[in-house]
């Protein structure tokens, strides 16, 4: 190797202070500029519910809500999220926002190893806020960035479908 790496490495070492509102709570942490949001959530903030399956935006295991929208935490540097409001599976669970989805996934065994599940739930939650009564085709389409090796997907589709129905019946809409 050449000797010019020292300055390079110094840059890498430098950390930046970032602040987020994570799951409703203000947090600050020191991150390296190269650190992704998923690493920051999992390591610095110990929120290990957000998973990393591919680190290139292909599998959906790392989905979190950022300012109310589902984003891939592996495709974003932590510094880019400075000032954002982030909700992870832990926060969405505590707030009860996805309690019906979780209950339906549980009832139908729409998970096996559970590694894809937080990302699936975040995506399903997003879908149902966009379209109240998606067709099965639309559900499959919306989940097409969420890889699951265990389930075969059908129970997941069924669960989301059932929640969409239940939610819209409650609201009186169709």
């Amino acid at each position: 190797m050449n000797g010019s790496d020292e300055t390079l490495l110094d840059d890498v070492d430098e950390t930046v202070r970032v602040r987020f509102i994570v799951n409703g709570r203000k947090v600050a942490c020191e991150v390296a500029p190269r650190e992704t949001l998923v690493d920051c959530l999992r390591n610095a903030l110990e929120l290990t519910g957000t998973h990393a399956g591919c680190e290139m935006g292909a599998c959906g295991a790392c989905l979190v809500q950022l300012d109310g929208r589902a984003v891939h935490a592996c495709l974003m540097f932590a510094v880019q999220a400075d000032g954002a409001k982030i909700d992870t599976i832990e926060g969405l669970t505590e707030s009860g926002a996805i309690a019906d989805l979780q209950a339906e996934f549980h009832r139908r065994n729409a998970l096996q190893c559970g590694f894809c599940t937080p990302g699936m739930l975040v995506n399903a939650h997003e879908l149902l806020t966009q379209i109240a009564r998606p067709s099965r085709e639309e559900i499959r389409d919306a989940l097409s960035g969420n890889y699951c090796r265990c389930t075969g997907y059908e129970a997941i589709i069924d669960a989301i479908d059932a929640v969409a129905k239940a939610r819209s019946e409650e609201g009186g809409a169709t």
């Binding site: 890498v12 390591n43 110990e46 399956g53 295991a61 599976i89 190893c113 265990c150």
Partner: protein, 791 residues
């Protein structure tokens, strides 16, 4: 089998009930505790520098700069770990003549596949460790290499292992006799050569390990994302010379495994060594590219097969040659020849014929190892057999259902021994075939197909019958000298407050092991399921056993739990009888209450028995020692395997302009014996089928001529996603095995076993009007267009 097991109407009858998994709630809340989540005090992180060449001599390694980087604790090369770790060899004694070179965590002087780990760095963070990798210099001298099957078999070609005379790992032959005569007298012969690409497990959580060696007490704790903690306890103990009782392997939540997470990987062995060298916890989690280049791959077979039939369409004989290339080594400790061995033994399994001959050749090449992955060998044996059966049907002008109905072993003809040497206790091909025909609404599908064909829409219908190997006995690995258990163990306690704790050796990777074990315990003891806690995956806590592989969780683990529970119940009732001054036989337990066996009147809660036994033993008759913890082991006896069977059907559409295939609907009728939780069985089937469909249509590890894996990312290696997958219709037939009280057989591989065979037959069915055939898997659009001569 006693009647109460199936009566779902009595309290606490859980066997046969679709109850949700208690542990799934944690995972849904993001509270899983996967190995990749684990962080220990003083923990360091490992990263590996990998070989860019598929075959090269290591001339020199310079790690000086890397070692000097701030935050780096250790840079280790092959020789450093070879000092403390003994080499391993991936052979089994019962595969006579099998060879494989010794392996070490990191190579000493030669790399044999592109992606092989060469140098390890341990640092304060993974990022620093990766920075250090960039400062390592290795001089390689490239060596000639072999990539494909033909190149590897070329007598004058390069050798993967220069110490051997050729690249043959293993050769085997089966011959039941009179095969040539059968072919000579056959009215019809069909023949095909089929090839199967390499694919890999792609578990969503990559391999992960945290090794924690404590030099003060000479004890090693390994948090390991594995299916088989006991196997690794033994291996770490033997290869690092640590007494077995001082090695603890913990496998908590595992993000998918499918057979991939039970082999010895070089990095995992290295991480244990690195922790020993440093006396600190060391963590390694493969990233996705590392998974693709270092996880085991599977399949990679080329099979030439012939089938002889008489004038009526009855199968007379099969003659098969299977060539398979397994990479540079045979995996340890299960070996890489098990797949080929199962391919040649499962050929023709559903059918009644006498004459069979097979040759297997397993060869080395400069690629990562192949080995056991879900449905080992089944998809290949099934695809070859079922393709030949369909070809024969076409030749004879028979419908695919009709030719199978004519040839499957009759449901009343068991026990049977296959010409390949397998003994079948009781299978149900005839009833499954009939059920599938109804479920698919076959005649309507055929009519619709004919109608659409006229309009240029090309649909195909494919069916494939299968036999699955489950509940393996010691005949699987034990006889070959591998220290892999076929028995399982359970320790069951009534706690002082009257709840039940079950420590069991079968492990959980999402199949629902813990759920079905708690169902069996609750059912057999007569308590509510929520009062049963099941603990798995910790060698220090749970008794030794085979754990979860080859579909043995329900059949062997479940039977272990059943027998342990019956023993605990006897003990509880003995104490209850002393207290109540009754005969134990006149008492029973329902809903946590001891009751009169005849009148069902409540006598006392079992919590009261526990209280008295633990805290007031002074009130029990002199000499009474209450045994409210029982330990029980169970090893399968009788048939060496519990074979299951079933049949799958597929309806798909081929776009003859683009070559794209859309699976419209998939069907399976399956017989896994006693079903403990129908919902979990269905989900195993669906998950398995989707893995099989992935293999059939998308998944292939593609290599360049220089042995580079060219599609090692989730963007390039296609996996089935929700949009491409169909809804899957499931039917059940139950033929319990009489070898156990529970009667359960395995089900995890049934879906994968026949899915690609089904798709292969369906695509070929769709292409009938074009006189085009497909004979390789995966069936990509390019292959379809090539077959149609449009590309």
């Amino acid at each position: 089998m006693s009647a109460p097991l199936t009566s779902l109407d009595r309290p606490n009858s859980y066997i046969g009930r679709s109850v949700p998994r208690p542990n799934a709630k944690r995972l849904l809340a993001g509270r899983g505790r996967y190995i990749s989540d684990i962080r220990l005090p003083r923990m360091l992180y490992a990263a590996f520098l990998r070989s860019p060449y598929a075959h090269a001599k290591i001339v020199a390694i310079n790690v000086e700069q890397a070692g000097a980087l701030e935050g780096v604790h250790l840079v280790a090369v092959g020789a450093d770990l070879a000092k403390i770790c003994t080499p391993w060899i991936g052979t089994l004694d019962h595969f006579k003549g099998m060879t494989s070179a010794p392996q070490l965590p990191l190579p000493l002087d030669r790399v044999v596949w592109a992606g092989q780990a060469v140098v390890a760095v341990v640092a304060d963070s993974r990022a620093i460790a990766e920075d250090a990798l960039e400062l390592i210099e290795i001089d390689y001298e490239e060596l000639p290499l072999v990539v494909d099957i033909d190149g590897a078999r070329d007598p004058g070609g390069p050798l993967v292992n220069p110490d051997s005379v050729n690249n043959v790992c293993f050769r085997s032959q089966l011959d039941s006799g009179a095969v040539d005569e059968a072919f000579a007298h056959a009215a019809h012969v069909v023949e095909e050569e089929l090839s199967f690409g390499r694919h890999t497990a792609v578990t969503l959580e990559p391999r992960a390990i945290v090794a924690d060696y404590d030099p003060a007490v000479g004890a090693l704790t390994v948090h390991h994302a594995t299916q088989t903690p006991y196997q690794f306890q033994d291996l770490y103990s033997r290869h690092y010379g640590i007494p077995e009782a001082r090695v603890r392997v913990i496998a908590t939540d595992i993000g998918g495994s499918f057979g991939m997470k039970l082999h010895v990987y070089h990095e995992d062995m290295a991480v244990v060594g690195l922790s020993i060298l440093l006396g600190r916890p060391v963590k390694y989690v493969a990233d996705r590219i590392e998974s693709f280049v270092s996880d085991i791959h599977a399949r990679d077979h080329r099979v030439h097969a012939r089938m002889a039939l008489d004038a009526k369409g009855e199968i007379l004989a099969m003659d098969v040659v299977d060539l398979t290339a397994i990479g540079a080594f045979s995996t340890y400790p299960r070996t890489s020849v098990v797949e080929g061995n199962q391919v040649i033994r499962l050929m023709g399994a559903p059918y009644r014929f006498k004459n069979y001959r097979a040759a297997l050749e397993v060869i080395f090449q400069n690629k990562v190892q192949t080995s056991q992955y879900r449905a080992v060998g089944h998809p290949i044996a099934c695809a070859v057999t079922e393709r030949l059966v369909d070809m024969a049907a076409a030749k004879l002008g028979l419908d695919p259902f009709a030719i199978r109905a004519r040839n499957v072993i009759a449901d009343d003809a068991y026990p049977q021994t296959s010409p390949t040497g397998y003994r079948f206790e009781a299978l149900s091909h005839q009833v499954c075939l009939k059920r599938l025909h109804e479920m698919m609404d076959y005649d309507t599908l055929r009519a619709e197909q004919a109608e659409l064909r006229k309009r240029g829409i090309h649909r195909g219908i494919g069916i494939a019958a299968f036999v699955e190997i489950t509940n393996p006995s010691p005949a699987f690995y034990g006889v070959g000298g591998a220290r892999i258990s076929s028995q399982d163990g359970a320790i069951l306690s009534l706690t002082p407050s009257g709840e039940v704790r079950c420590l069991i050796s079968v492990t959980e990777q999402g199949q629902g092991t813990e759920a079905i074990i708690s169902q069996i315990v609750a059912d057999q003891l007569g308590v509510a399921q929520e009062h049963v806690k099941v603990i798995t995956g910790d060698t220090e806590v749970t008794p030794h056993g085979g754990a979860t592989w080859a579909c043995r969780g329900a059949g062997i683990g479940g039977e272990t739990a059943l027998q342990a529970t019956r023993a605990l119940k006897r003990n509880i009732l003995e104490i209850a009888a002393l207290i109540l001054q009754e005969q134990p036989s006149s008492l029973d337990i329902i809903d946590g209450e001891v009751v009169d066996a005849v009148t069902r009147n409540q006598r006392m809660p079992i919590s009261e028995i526990a209280r008295i036994a633990y805290f007031r033993s002074d009130t029990l008759p002199p000499g009474t020692q209450a045994q409210l913890t029982v330990s029980h082991h169970f090893a399968p006896q009788g048939y060496p395997f519990a074979f299951t069977n079933g049949i799958q059907g597929c309806s798909l559409e081929v776009d003859v302009e683009t070559g794209f295939i859309k699976v419209l609907k998939h069907f399976i009728v399956e017989d896994c014996g006693r079903v403990i939780n129908p919902m979990l069985v269905d989900e195993q089937l669906r998950g398995g089928i989707v893995q099989g469909l992935g293999a059939a249509l998308f998944e292939e590890c593609r290599y360049s001529e220089t042995g580079q894996l060219v599609n090692g990312s989730l963007a390039d290696y296609l996996v089935p996603m929700p949009m491409e997958m169909p809804d899957i219709v499931i039917g059940h037939v139950e033929t319990p095995t009489a070898d156990t009280e529970l009667g359960a057989k395995g089900v995890g591989e049934a879906g994968t076993a026949a899915a690609s065979a089904c798709v292969l037959n369906a695509v070929n069915d769709a292409l009938v009007p074009f006189d085009a055939t497909i004979n390789s898997i995966p069936i990509t659009p390019t292959k379809v267009l090539k077959a149609l001569k449009r590309f």
